[in-house]
């Protein structure tokens, strides 16, 4: 490998109690690309994403083996600050998860925790994040409205903006468009494509088509194992594995 991968997953195994949900998975994620990790339900994509920012730590009774390197450094090393890691590796969830406060406060929440208190500085952070998430024009008039009052698609872009306000290096998106209409989906995909200029995105798309639309690279997972991985165009045009081919052509199962 020539340039160092942004994230390198090495021989990762993950268990919920006794059940193994990720099997000996190794994967390299290059910087400034969108990697789509896709597969049928229960294939371990969500779990994989959660191990990348250690949100999996909060699951009781789970344990893992293998290692995950961010910029060459083990994120499970003892001296790693989990909160700092999660700032660098942000996450957008399947269901929009605005916090029960105003639009402004949702975005300012992270920066405030990191000690940015000045109103002017916060205003700038909020506006910049909302612009990057292509939401600014729709909410600039009502930043103090409750985040619960905007539509699902807007809430999801708010969640992306909230992550961006922390200036992360990686964003994990777990089926970010699964509950959204096509127009909202298109807007989110548009902002993801713009964002990869400055950061790395790992996306668990909610269907194969979305992987095709936005991903530079794709990884196909099945029952916790990585089946095939490569540039999106190659994998979709010439899948090497029969199971990948069956899945992307819809002949699966």
């Amino acid at each position: 490998m020539t340039p160092q991968a942004k994230i390198a997953v090495k021989k990762l195994s993950f268990y919920y109690k006794k059940e193994q949900v990720i099997r000996d998975l190794s994967l390299e994620i290059p910087a400034n690309e969108i990697l789509a990790v896709f597969g049928p339900a229960n294939s371990g994509t969500t779990t994989l994403l959660r191990t990348l920012n250690r949100l999996s730590d909060t699951i009781r009774g789970a344990h893992m083996g293998g290692e995950i390197l961010l910029d060459g450094k083990d994120i499970y090393a003892l001296d790693v600050s989990v909160t700092e890691l999660r700032r660098k590796v942000g996450m957008v969830f399947e269901v929009p998860t605005p916090l029960p406060m105003s639009i402004y406060d949702n975005i300012a929440y992270g920066p405030r925790m990191r000690g940015i208190k000045r109103k002017k500085a916060l205003d700038q952070v909020v506006e910049k994040a909302l612009r990057m998430a292509v939401l600014w024009d729709e909410v600039k008039e009502r930043l103090n409205a409750s985040a619960m009052s905007i539509s699902g698609g807007q809430q999801q872009r708010l969640c992306i903006a909230r992550v961006l306000a922390l200036e992360p290096e990686v964003i994990l998106c777990d089926r970010p468009c699964s509950g959204l209409d096509p127009v909202s989906t298109a807007k989110i995909e548009e902002s993801l494509r713009e964002l990869k200029e400055r950061l790395t995105i790992v996306l668990a798309p909610h269907n194969v088509q979305q992987a095709g639309r936005v991903a530079d690279r794709v990884a196909f997972m099945l029952m916790g194992s990585l089946i095939e991985e490569g540039p999106a165009a190659d994998v979709f045009a010439n899948p090497k594995d029969k199971r990948t081919e069956d899945y992307i052509t819809g002949r699966f199962g």
Partner: protein, 284 residues
Amino acid sequence: MRFSEKIPGRVLLVIAFSALSALVLITVFIFVEGVPLIARVGVFNFIFGMKWAPSQGAFGIFPMIVGSLSVTLGAIILGVPIALCCAIFLTEFAPATVRNAIRPAIQLLAGIPSVVYGFWGLIFVVPLIRNYIGGPGLSILAGSIILAIMILPTIISISEVSLLALPPPYREGAFALGATQWQTIHGVLLPAARSGILAAVILGMGRAIGETMAVIMVLGNAVAMPSSILDPARTLTTNIGIEMAYAAGEHRQALFATGIVLLVMIMILNSVAQYALRRRQDER
């Protein structure tokens, strides 16, 4: 609809209304008995009168209102922090096994008869205060301590329910933004559960203000205006409890009038609690 299908609904309606009619009956009775005396003495003189001497025709309950409010406030100050910490521990930190052990124990606390609390307070808390802090021991402080313990189960279980009712994404969302567990709790979860916790506190207050037996036993029951938390005091409820046995005529009416004041205070508390709980539902 066929007639036979209407019967269960009608029967249940009648039974439901008979429960309600008990409330109406008691309220009307208290008002009929108490209002004439308040009218004679005057609302202002009754509520703000400093002297309670039924034999001399002096009916001022202000010292008891102060007694009720100070014991209740004391119970809230002592009990709410403990109850909240307990609820937070149970919902956010405790492993399932610990939670399953603690929760029934707390509910058991609600099952202890108030006379037992009072007895324990009299034998244990009162001498402790007398020997180590001062005063006669029978005091507002003793009452507050006992009531604080008695309202714990109410406040813990309602705050616990409102914390548990928060959608899991609040927690994950805050964690994913790099919040620590504590930052998540005080920055996101507590504000989100605010109205439920407020309702819990108010229901706890209602319980504290209405409690009689345990308070009679540890409060000293002096009719004078207390000047410190180490002084004995009398509450509205204990006033009724102590004197009802021998009260007659105007004196008895005055006790019912005390009941009116108590009822109004509790009704106000309950409506505030209802309002807080309803606002929580609207926020969703």
